[in-house]
Structure formats: C-alpha cells, structure tokens
Amino acid sequence: MKESLLDIICCPLDKHDLELTVEERDEEDGEIVEGLLVCTDCGEEYPIEEGIPNLLPPDMRE
C-alpha cells in the first residue's frame, strides 16, 4: 500500500480519517507491506497485510 492512499481511503463505518502505523515497509519502493490503520474517530482497527489494506468492517472480515 502506498502511503498516499491515505488521502483516498477512510473508515468504512463513519468515514473519518485513518491513522497509519507501519510495521514493515518494502525496502525498494517504500510501500507499506504490514501495518495498521486506525480510525481517528471510532478507534476501529484495520490491518494491512501483504500490502493490502483490509477495510472491511469487523463483522465482514471472515
């Protein structure tokens, strides 16, 4: 996931901004491979796994 994607995505539940925590970056292109997106309003957490943010609401994840 490119960091600039933060300008385009939001919390799927309340549409507020997401705050990014990076756990692993790709050394070549700087993309976020593993990390966490947290809603600045409701606090819901959305994982970034294998470079893909999972922005499904918690009840739809599995």
């Binding site: 385009i8 939001c10 901004d17 893909i52 499904l56 739809m60």
Partner: protein, 226 residues
C-alpha cells in the same frame, strides 16, 4: 458443485432441464449455468470475459485522474486502464481476498472493501464497476466466491442499487462512473435508478451476445444537485 441435477456441463447449449426445452435459456438458473460454463467455475476469482473487455475499453477511453475499479476480480480491467497510461493512478477493490491479491499482482493498488464504503468524499475522478448481476434464485445459490462474483440476487440489482446510492459521495463533482449493465439485469431499471440518485446517464458502449446485451453506462453527477 451444482446439486440441481441439470447437468451444467453436458453440451453447453441450454442442456435439457426440467421442462425448459427451448433452445435459448431464459430463466435465471439456466442462463447462469450457461454463463458459468463459459467462464469456468471453480476458480475463486472471476476471469475476464466479454463484459470485462467492454468496460476496459470504455475505461481506457474515458477514465482519467484517480480511478477506482470496484469489484476488480482478477484486476484485468484495472490493468488495462493503467497500461493505457491516461490515468494518474488506478485502484482496485474487492470483497474477495484472492481477488485483491490477483489485482495487486497486476499492478492495481488493491483495497479489500465492501463497495465504496472506505473511499473518502470527493477522492475519485472515475469509478468503474462490472457488478455481479445475474438474477439468482435465493433457494439455489452456490455460496462461494464465484457466486459472490456473479450473483446479483433475485433482481440482479442487489449490488448495483447500494453502489449507486453511495457513488456520488466519493466521486468528485466533475467525476464519472462507468457501469457495466446487462439486459439480464434490466437496463431501463438501472438507468431509472441512476437518474433517481442524481446522475445523468449516457450509453457509451453496447454489444449483443446470445444470452444478453451488454452496455456501459457513463454516469455523471447532475449539476443541479438533484
């Protein structure tokens, strides 16, 4: 996979089901079987087909700026739009994690999402959507990823209507939606619904196939803000 005993794989041409002996299948089930056969069941990700080609062409011609393909599946349409080079960036979203991985492999910025839920207001210049649109009998669903990629519920519009309900929000005021619509889904109904949600609608591509006519609708937010 199918437990309806209709023998989806017999001869391809409207396999004799119970009482449906016309050559061309017209009910949702046999049409679905025919389409499913053409498209190859069993893969967890929808493979590009005629509808994908039509949507990709429209996207290459018209999608600019920040482009999102909703329900990107294999990511093939998104890849075509990106390869054409006229868009600034191309995103692909899908409910299906296998599809998200496939789309990322093809170079789209993948996001696992339910329709437009996690896309911010005024963030997109173009939204492409080839929705799951086959009308499906609720008692005869497959309940797997392939069904999620094909089935549009009883009307065929179960995903199209919620998509249109929300499409104006993430779209910039001068943005554009390119929506693939099949005659199986009810073309006039989709146009009417889009208009009721504040869009102007124009058909920008159309092709006929044995079981359906496919159209690409270009939807733009009406400037009167209705």
């Amino acid at each position: 996979m199918s437990d309806d005993g209709a023998g989806a794989g017999d001869d391809g041409a409207g396999g004799a089901g119970d009482g449906a002996d016309e050559g061309v299948p017209t009910d949702g089930e046999s049409t679905r079987d025919a389409l499913a056969e053409r498209r190859g069941l069993g893969d967890p990700v929808y493979a590009p087909a005629e509808d994908s080609g039509l949507l990709a062409e429209a996207g290459v011609d018209r999608a600019r700026g920040v482009v999102l393909e909703v329900g990107t599946g294999s990511g093939w349409v998104a890849e075509r739009v990106r390869a054409a080079g006229a868009a600034d960036r191309v995103l692909g979203s899908d409910l299906n994690p296998h599809a998200c991985r496939a789309a990322r492999e093809r170079g789209a910025e993948a996001v696992r999402a339910d329709l437009l839920d996690p896309f911010a207001a005024d963030s997109l210049d173009a939204i492409l959507f080839n929705p799951p649109y086959l009308p499906t009998d609720p008692d005869n669903e497959w309940d797997d990823w392939q069904e999620a990629a094909l089935s549009g519920g009883e009307s065929g519009r179960d995903l199209i209507e919620p998509f249109l309900d929300d499409a104006a929000r993430p779209l910039r005021p001068d943005g554009l939606v390119l929506l693939l619509v099949s005659s199986l889904t009810g073309f006039p109904e989709v146009v009417e619904y889009a208009v009721s949600q504040g869009f102007d609608a124009e058909t920008v591509a159309e092709e006929s196939y044995p079981y359906e006519t496919l159209s690409v609708l270009a939807l733009t937010p009406r400037s009167d803000g209705a």
